[in-house]
Each structure stands twice: as structure tokens, then as C-alpha cells.
């Protein structure tokens, strides 16, 4: 598609600037805060068990597992604009699934239960997406959020009423997860395992979101109708990201089940679903924001409940309200510019050089 209108060309220096990869990336390049933040957090998380007392390491492990859960919600809400208020459905179903595997079949090897939990989350999300997202016409935010929430509520009630699933009490005393002959109980070992999984899934998500697929997701979030007119199959796009998010929630749920040693109905229900919304409020639309948000909310709850035993939920609630009022994009927007938050999806310098004639 070459331009032929003679009077319509911009000045030559502009053409030169735009065609040259170095200039183009200089225009695009600004100080990068995000990688520094990510690296600093990774270092802090890596040395934490060495300096923290054991019971706090156990608590921190739980927070890391919840970070994974928050990532799954951030993918659908922060990136694709799908408000899933039933994220706990995938978290809890996977938790119950692996608990049953270990109770009824004696399977506790990490190489079996973690893939199984991930698969359960993936399939559950795909089924729900089939009902809620795959209609001929795009479904509204209200329809999807209420639909997912109803799913979580129904699962909670079903589990409460089921004798097989242990009713109100859930499934207690799940044996520890094993790697070969080694048993993983809570402590630094479990902590580093979860950290490794979190980093791996974080990097995979980052890869996906910075790809052209991520650009399609940004389009989906900003203007679903518009990108349908480009020829995108919007429904498929939604179902895929929803299922990926369900898989991550499933992985997180199965780790949670083995870390806590029991599963109960709250893991499935609406409380868990809304909790994850709170985590992501601190920085939706960035992966690191979901991680930091989870750490802040859980850390504050831990500290406040120790020091202000009676009123800590109120303090936490007020803090969250302040964030919504004054920093709608989350606390992450204090350090991260809008441009870097949204990112850009053009080719990297290397790709441009390869593409150059």
C-alpha cells in the first residue's frame, strides 16, 4: 500500500525519523520504572525467609499463593476488561479437586496435583465462558459479573450441602504434597516452591500481555465493538483469556489446599471472589500491581488485626476507599506513568532490524 498522493507527504526529516528504528525507539523509550520495581521485589521476596521468623514465612507463603490468585483476576479484569466476580469458583473447584485426589486416591505428588488443579480451573472457566461469553452477541459487563458471581455462590451452596464434599466443614487433614519421596510441609521449602511458580507464571503472563495478543486484549478492553469491525473474533478472544485465567486460579487453589492442609466452602464462595477484587484495586492493569496489592492488603490485615483487634476491618475499608477516590488507577500509578502502564506493542529493536529490507 504505497502512498501516491504527491502533495500529501510529510517533510522528509519526519519520514527519516520514523523509518529509522533507532529514532523510533528513542521516541518510544522513556525511563523504565517497571523492570526496576519487579527486580527489587524479586530480590526482597528471595531473601525474606532468611530474615523473617518461621511463622511469618508461613504467612508469606499464603500471601504468595494469593498473589497468584490475584494475577488470574488481573488478567481478565485489568487487561481484558471482563469483570469476573466468580474467580473463586476456579480457585475453590481446583482446591476441592486436588483434596479429593489425595483423600480418595492417595495422589499427592506435585507433578500430578498441580497440573490436575490447573486443568480443573481451565475446564471450569471454559465451561462457564461457554455459557456467559460465547453467545452470538457480545454480553454486557453486568451479565458477566452477575453470571460469574452466581456461579461462585451456587458452588458454595452445593459444597455446603454435599456430604461427599464434607458439607460445612470441608475436607480436613489433606496430607502434605510430595516431590518424589520428599514431603513438602509449610516453611521455607514451600515458600521457595511457590515463589518459583509465581515467578514462572508472572513471566509467562508478561510475555503474553506484551505480545500482539496483549494488544488485542487492550483493544478488547478499550472498545470491544470497534475491534469486532476489524475482524477479531471477540468472543473467542474472551473465552481464551478467561480460560487461561481460570487455569492460573486453579494452580493457585491447589497450592492453597495443600499449604493450608484443608479446604472449606469459603474457598468457592463470593467472599473469596470479592477479596481478590480488593487485591487488584491497588494496581489493576499491571501484573506487578496485583502482586503488590495482595501483599499490601494481606500485610495490612495481618498487622492491623494484631494491633487494632476490633476495628481493623474498618481501617482497611477506609484505606481502600481512599485509594478508589484519589488513585482510581491504583497506588501503582504513583510510580508508574500512564504510558508505561499501558505499554506499547510495536516490534522490539531487534525485530525491526530483522524486518528492515
Amino acid at each position: 500500500m504505497s502512498s501516491t498522493g504527491t502533495g500529501t507527504q510529510p517533510p522528509p526529516h519526519v519520514i527519516e525519523a520514523a523509518r529509522s528504528p533507532v529514532m523510533a525507539s528513542a521516541i518510544a523509550g522513556r525511563t523504565k520504572v517497571l523492570p526496576i520495581l519487579e527486580l527489587a521485589l524479586l530480590i526482597a521476596a528471595s531473601i525474606a525467609p532468611l530474615v523473617l521468623r518461621d511463622y511469618i514465612t508461613v504467612y508469606a507463603t499464603r500471601v504468595l499463593i494469593l498473589c497468584l490468585f490475584a494475577l488470574s483476576f488481573d488478567l481478565v479484569w485489568g487487561y481484558a476488561g471482563i469483570l469476573s466476580l466468580g474467580q473463586s469458583l476456579f480457585f475453590g473447584t481446583a482446591g476441592y479437586g486436588v483434596a479429593l485426589l489425595s483423600r480418595d486416591f492417595g495422589v499427592a505428588s506435585i507433578f500430578a496435583v498441580l497440573p490436575a488443579g490447573t486443568l480443573i480451573g481451565f475446564v471450569a472457566a471454559l465451561l462457564l465462558a461457554g455459557f456467559l461469553l460465547l453467545g452470538r452477541h457480545p454480553s454486557s459487563v453486568v451479565f458477566v459479573s452477575l453470571g460469574t458471581m452466581t456461579g461462585a455462590y451456587a458452588a458454595d451452596r452445593l459444597a455446603r450441602g454435599s456430604h461427599y464434599l464434607g458439607g460445612q466443614n470441608g475436607i480436613p487433614s489433606i496430607p502434605p504434597m510430595t516431590i518424589g519421596s520428599h514431603e513438602l510441609s509449610e516453611g521455607p521449602g514451600f515458600y521457595y516452591l511457590v515463589l518459583a511458580i509465581l515467578v514462572l507464571i508472572y513471566l509467562l503472563s508478561r510475555f503474553l500481555l506484551r505480545s500482539q495478543f496483549g494488544l488485542a486484549l487492550a483493544g478488547l478492553r478499550e472498545n470491544e465493538q470497534r475491534i469486532a469491525f476489524f475482524g477479531y473474533n471477540v468472543q473467542h478472544l474472551k473465552a481464551i483469556i478467561f480460560a487461561i485465567s481460570g487455569a492460573i486460579a486453579g494452580a493457585s487453589g491447589s497450592l492453597y489446599a495443600f499449604h493450608e492442609g484443608f479446604v472449606w466452602t469459603n474457598m468457592l464462595g463470593v467472599v473469596m471472589s470479592t477479596q481478590v477484587v480488593l487485591y487488584v484495586l491497588f494496581g489493576s492493569g499491571t501484573l506487578i500491581g496485583a502482586v503488590i496489592g495482595t501483599a499490601i492488603v494481606e500485610g495490612l490485615s495481618f498487622w492491623l488485626s494484631d494491633n487494632y483487634r476490633d476495628i481493623w476491618p474498618i481501617i482497611l475499608g477506609v484505606l481502600l476507599l481512599l485509594v478508589i477516590l484519589f488513585r482510581p488507577l491504583g497506588l501503582i500509578s504513583l510510580v508508574l506513568g500512564e504510558r508505561e502502564r499501558v505499554g506499547h506493542f510495536g516490534p522490539s529493536l531487534k525485530e525491526k532490524r530483522n524486518a528492515a529490507p
Binding site: 500529501t8 478499550e222 469491525f229 506493542f345
Partner: protein, 244 residues
């Protein structure tokens, strides 16, 4: 055989009949203007062509295929592209990414996940931005553009889908005289590979760039023909005089 043939198109909203048996025929590489007073059904007809609305009665044929009941993505893949009346660029994305988003729509999801086409599409993105005089703003957010520039960006995005037929709903709405003139210049080169249906209030603009015109009034076709024929048409003159 024309590229696009719409016949007997009716669209009823409750008690309101927006279109009543309208018809339109567009040939290869033809610029076709759709004019008429406010409320005559121009935008409704455009939406029926693009698939945003399903007509109550009638048939739309595009490249010898009946597309009446196809969804917008299916029509887009068949080679039809629409620029909305209200600008719908994606404001937080850069201009570059806006164009890339349109260009990559045909890649498979797997190719998108591994970013297989972005290196290859770079030249094409920059060519389109240059063509529409936006290259120096490539890495700014689309929200920072002027209204006129946003319209150009959107035409560029509509063209990025490599359509055989481009539907433009009021491309010069809210533009200055100079911007309108430039828009006309920017659209001319498209003719080499693409037909155009354009809804526009500015009759001077439409007379300059269109080959044929169709005049709608109250949901019906009042007249259809070359620009000269329409200008000489008595009843067309009447409705424009009546409303002027």
C-alpha cells in the same frame, strides 16, 4: 456484477420505519456518495451494510455472496471495513498500536501470542501513518490528537484491514475547511484498490471526490446516478431547497 448490491432494504424500529425499500449498487473502484436530509436513513443504511444492524427485509450481496446475516467480524474478513460516525480510536494506545491492532486482525491467535507478524507489519504501519501525515506522532497516545487527526487515524485503521470496500460515515464531521481539503486528498489514492461508500453533509466535498451519488429521503431512494445527473435532478433540488 457490482461489488456491493443492496436491494429492498427496510429497517423498522418499533413504529418508526427508518428505511423503506432502499437500494444501493457500488462498482469496483467506485466512490459512491450517500446523501440526503437529516433522518433520511443514511446512517441506518450504512449500519445495515456493515452488519451493525440486521435489516428487517432486503438483501445485501458483497462480491457475489449474500452477506445479509453475517456478523461484523465475518464481513470484515470478507473485505468490508467501516469507519464509525463517532471517532472510535483507542485513546490510551499509541497511534502505532492503533494501526497495528487493525493490521494484525487477520493473524491467528497463536501467531499473535508469539508476536510472529509484528516485525513484518512494521513497514506497513509506518507507510499508513506516513500516508495520513501522522508518522511524527507515531508513539503518542491517540487521545492527544486533534479531532481532525483522530478522524484520519481512524480512516487509516479502516484501510489497514485491506478492504475491498470502505464505508465512511461522515469522515469530515467537525473538521476545518483546510482539514476537509486534506481529507479529500488523502482519500484519492485509495481508489486504486478499493471502493468507497461515503455519507457526508458537505455537498462540495462529496461532489469533488465521488463518481456516483444516491439520494435518500424518508428511507427511500429519491435518485441515483452520476454527480452531473443528480445535480440536474429536479426533485433532488427540491428537497434540498425545501430544507435550506
Amino acid at each position: 456484477m457490482p461489488l456491493l448490491e443492496a436491494a429492498g432494504i427496510s429497517k423498522v424500529f418499533g413504529k418508526l420505519t427508518a428505511l423503506d425499500g432502499a437500494a444501493l449498487s457500488v462498482g469496483e473502484r467506485e466512490f459512491h456518495g450517500l446523501i440526503g436530509p437529516n433522518g433520511s436513513g443514511k446512517s441506518t443504511l450504512m449500519k445495515c451494510l456493515a452488519g451493525a444492524l440486521v435489516p428487517t427485509r432486503g438483501k445485501v450481496t458483497f462480491i457475489n455472496t449474500d452477506v445479509t446475516s453475517l456478523t461484523p467480524p465475518e464481513r470484515a474478513r470478507a473485505g468490508m471495513s467501516l469507519k464509525f460516525q463517532i471517532t472510535a480510536v483507542l485513546p490510551t494506545l499509541t497511534l502505532y498500536d492503533n494501526i497495528l491492532l487493525a493490521l494484525q486482525a487477520r493473524s491467528s491467535l497463536l501467531d499473535l501470542a508469539f508476536s510472529r507478524s509484528r516485525g513484518r507489519l512494521h513497514e506497513e504501519v509506518m507507510t499508513l501513518l506516513l500516508q495520513f501525515r501522522l508518522a511524527d506522532r507515531a508513539f503518542d497516545a491517540a487521545a492527544t490528537l486533534s479531532h481532525g487527526q483522530q478522524q484520519w487515524l481512524e480512516i487509516a485503521m479502516a484501510l489497514a484491514c485491506r478492504p475491498r470496500l470502505l464505508l465512511l460515515d461522515e469522515p469530515t464531521g467537525g473538521m476545518s475547511l483546510e482539514e476537509r481539503r486534506v481529507t479529500g486528498e488523502l482519500l484519492q489514492p485509495i481508489k486504486q484498490h478499493c471502493s468507497l461508500v461515503i455519507v457526508e453533509h458537505d455537498l462540495d466535498f462529496i461532489r469533488d471526490i465521488c463518481d456516483r451519488l444516491t439520494v435518500l429521503d424518508q428511507g427511500k431512494v429519491l435518485a441515483s446516478g452520476t454527480v452531473a445527473e443528480i445535480q440536474a435532478n429536479r426533485s433532488v433540488q427540491e428537497i434540498y431547497l425545501r430544507r435550506a
